[in-house]
């Protein structure tokens, strides 16, 4: 059942997508083939998929931890930027130094940078009751302006022909490649490791249980002694820290420097990935690859059949629409099939999409 909804969603996206693009005067079936099929069978593209999926998976894993507990952090974009900036700060301070400690220091600061940015909505939520959806969203825009300011002013490369970007990072500040001769950098296995760890933590530890229970049944959680405040803090710090780590990995890996074009919407795309992966870290790994496929395949389709780049967004949004729709159909089947199990916790969770897969786990 866990897999039914995503599979239905992807299938529906392919069918409706083909029809829609045919209607719009493009080669609809060709578009689907070029984006979703051909790319998969081209080994050259696999490394691209992995590199593109890594930051998405990492960010989405962090978000999913919060979403499970009904903490709606949609500020991952800003946390990603701040993580990248904090790590870049270390890099710029150590441009003249060498040593294997530099990269780990950048990572740590990246994580802390993301956490610090996420701590603002956490603090506002726990002390004043401010809605974290709104505060974290607003902070994304503030983060972008901080980035612009640093690029235009203090952090501009003095040797860079007056272009707003930092100096290139040194070898000690750049991610090593884990598969020689490819683009697969340290961030790729790291993202997989993060997802696996998160999976184990969520499944096996008290903290994981806490997030789950708070999300599913807040009242029961309170009785059980799980504080709402600590849940909010855990959720936001996990989301911010992982978004920040993804940020510094992108900066120290594929970018190799900090530029104003650094934010490309990963923080928002990661929300889609989290849902497509059903808030399960393993599902998120797969979902990140599917999203990466829409990007990489979409670029191929532009060159081969002249599909406009806007098609990528249309496919992504349709996939999410269909997933959210398919979810309920699958859920209804469960409800009708096993009424005694599924009814109560689902209602308690205000029937949130997020809640369903865990509802089964709790009742099982």
């Amino acid at each position: 059942m866990m897999l039914a909804a995503p599979v239905i969603a992807v299938a529906a996206t392919l069918l409706v997508g083909a029809a829609l693009f045919t209607l719009l005067g493009h080669d609809g079936p060709g578009a689907v083939y070029e984006i979703f099929v051909k790319t998969l069978f081209n080994p050259y593209r696999w490394q691209d998929l992995l590199v593109k999926a890594a930051p998405l998976a990492m960010t989405a894993t962090g978000l999913a931890i919060g979403f499970r507990a009904n903490v709606w952090n949609i500020g991952a974009e800003g946390q990603y930027i701040l993580g990248g900036l904090a790590g870049t700060g270390v890099a710029l301070a150590t441009l003249d130094m060498t040593g294997s400690w530099i990269l780990p220091a950048m990572f740590v600061c990246g994580i802390l940078g993301g956490m610090a940015w996420a701590a603002i909505p956490a603090l506002l939520k726990t002390t004043l009751g401010v809605n974290e959806i709104l505060s974290s969203l607003m902070l994304n825009y503030v983060a972008i302006q901080i980035l612009y300011y640093l690029m235009r002013g203090p952090w501009k490369d003095p040797m860079g022909f007056n272009f707003p970007q930092t100096a290139m990072f040194t070898a000690d500040q750049t991610l090593p490649m884990v598969v020689p001769g490819t683009l697969i950098h340290l961030g790729v296995p790291l993202a997989a490791a993060v997802a696996l760890t998160a999976f184990l933590v969520l499944a096996r530890t008290v903290t994981g249980f806490q997030m789950k229970v708070v999300g599913l049944a807040p009242k029961a959680a309170a009785f059980g002694g799980f504080g709402a405040a600590s849940t909010v803090w855990i959720a936001l710090l996990a989301g911010g820290g992982l978004a920040g780590l993804a940020g510094i990995i992108e900066a120290a890996g594929p970018f190799g420097q900090m530029v104003p074009q650094f934010p490309t919407g990963y923080g928002y795309t990661a929300i889609i990935v989290a849902f497509l992966g059903r808030l399960n870290p393993l599902g998120i790994l797969l979902a990140a690859l599917v999203l990466a496929l829409t990007y990489v395949g979409g670029e191929s389709a532009q060159t081969t059949i002249g599909l406009p780049s806007a098609a990528t967004g249309v496919f992504q949004s349709m996939m999410l629409f269909f997933l959210l729709a398919a979810d309920i159909l699958v859920r209804y089947r469960i409800v009708s099939g096993r009424p005694a199990h599924a009814g109560v916790p689902a209602a308690e969770a205000a029937a949130d999409t997020a809640a369903k897969p865990k509802a089964k786990a709790v009742t099982a």
């Binding site: 080994p43 593109k52 598969v179 594929p254 670029e299």
Partner: protein, 363 residues
């Protein structure tokens, strides 16, 4: 399944490594029967500005060379890792030459060019190829067009003040502002150019509001270094005059649009593909202007007075003949100090990293 993909992936990685290390004899080039060319765009082809002009040149190239060239493009490519991936993909897909048309594509192009010595790369507006023999740089001297605009502006302005809607203070933009002001100053020594930075290449509403602000502060000529026709429309609404950017934008402002700097990339693209066909392609670093047909002025508006047309045309003719160079001293900076002495010309290398403004620019 994971195992299978991982093994295949390693194989793919090895194949790529091989491709990167097997260096082909660099200069033994034969001509080609046909050329496959690809273009990487930073914006949508429908931006009616920078990217649109490149894409029009691509179409023009196809028309010029017919069956001998096939082209494709990828639009809306984010600068950074996405660009690197797209460029590599195009190189792997058997393109003979890849044109990357935004400054932010420079480092990605350098990285990919290293891995594909048999594929040619051409990067627009960058300053280094990172030592790649298969990578060329090209750019246009748009500032030559700015000098024409400055001349028209000073001739037609009653207030002696132009409004300049600008994106970011990078050398390309700074040099354009200076060229505009220097040319205007030659006509009217008291001429002033007021710059408003909108901190975006593309934000129509903000560009329009910046134009309105400039107009209400006494400017009666508007020029821009942003991508949308919004400033023209705002000028049209207020009865001021303005100029198109990157492409003829007359349809948006039939009365205000005096002329436009048209980015004419077609001759360059055609020439480079022809060189590939002939087997004479070599990495170059060119900065071409009006003389080479890279920078063109859109037809002057019929409402422009004859003497203004003549003065503007004179700049165009002399630039083409090589007898007019707007960056010729004496040039004073904003504080009034002579920065370039009489008769001296600012070297191209200095223009490409220009970060100071000439007298009369208010920014």
């Amino acid at each position: 399944m994971f195992e299978l993909s991982r093994r295949k992936l390693l194989a793919a990685g090895a194949a790529l490594g091989l491709a990167a290390t097997s260096v082909a004899p660099a200069f033994a080039q034969d001509g080609k029967e046909t050329v496959k060319a690809a273009f990487v765009y930073v914006g949508p082809v429908g931006d009616y500005g920078w990217t649109y002009a490149h894409d029009q040149a691509r179409l023009c190239l196809e028309k010029n060379l017919g069956d001998k060239v096939t082209t494709s493009y990828v639009e809306n490519v984010a600068e950074g890792p996405d660009a690197e991936r797209v460029i590599r993909q195009l190189a792997q897909d058997g393109n003979d030459i890849v044109f990357t048309t935004s400054f932010g594509f420079m480092n990605p192009t350098i990285k990919v060019a290293k891995q594909f010595p048999d594929v040619k790369f051409e990067h627009a507006t960058g300053y280094t190829t990172g030592g790649n023999a298969n990578m060329g740089l090209y750019n246009s001297k748009f500032y030559q067009g700015r000098a024409v605009l400055g001349t028209i502006a000073a001739k037609m302005s009653k207030s002696g003040k132009a409004g300049y809607v600008a994106s970011f203070p990078i050398p390309e933009v700074v040099m354009g502002i200076n060229a505009f002001q220097l040319a205007a100053q030659k006509i009217n020594p008291d001429f002033k150019t007021q710059v408003v930075w909108v901190n975006s290449w593309y934000d129509p509403a903000k560009e329009a509001d910046a134009t309105r602000a400039l107009l209400s502060q006494g400017a009666d000529v508007i020029t821009q270094h942003t991508d949308s026709p919004a400033p023209l429309q705002a000028a049209e609404e207020a009865g001021a005059i303005a100029f198109g950017q990157a492409w003829n934008m007359e349809s948006f402002a039939p009365n205000a649009h005096m002329t436009a700097i048209v980015d004419q990339w077609c001759p360059y693209y055609t020439g480079r593909i022809q060189a590939l066909l002939d087997g004479t392609w070599e990495a170059d670093n060119v900065w071409l202007g009006m003389k080479e047909g890279e920078v063109e002025m859109a037809p002057f508006n019929a409402k422009m007075p004859e003497d203004v047309k003549a003065a503007a045309q004179k700049i165009v003719d002399e630039t083409k003949a090589g007898t007019y160079e707007v960056f010729t001293g004496p040039i004073k900076d904003q504080s009034g100090e002579v920065k370039i002495p009489e008769g001296e010309v600012i070297p191209e290398g200095d223009l490409l990293k220009m970060d100071w403004y000439v007298e009369g620019v208010q920014s």
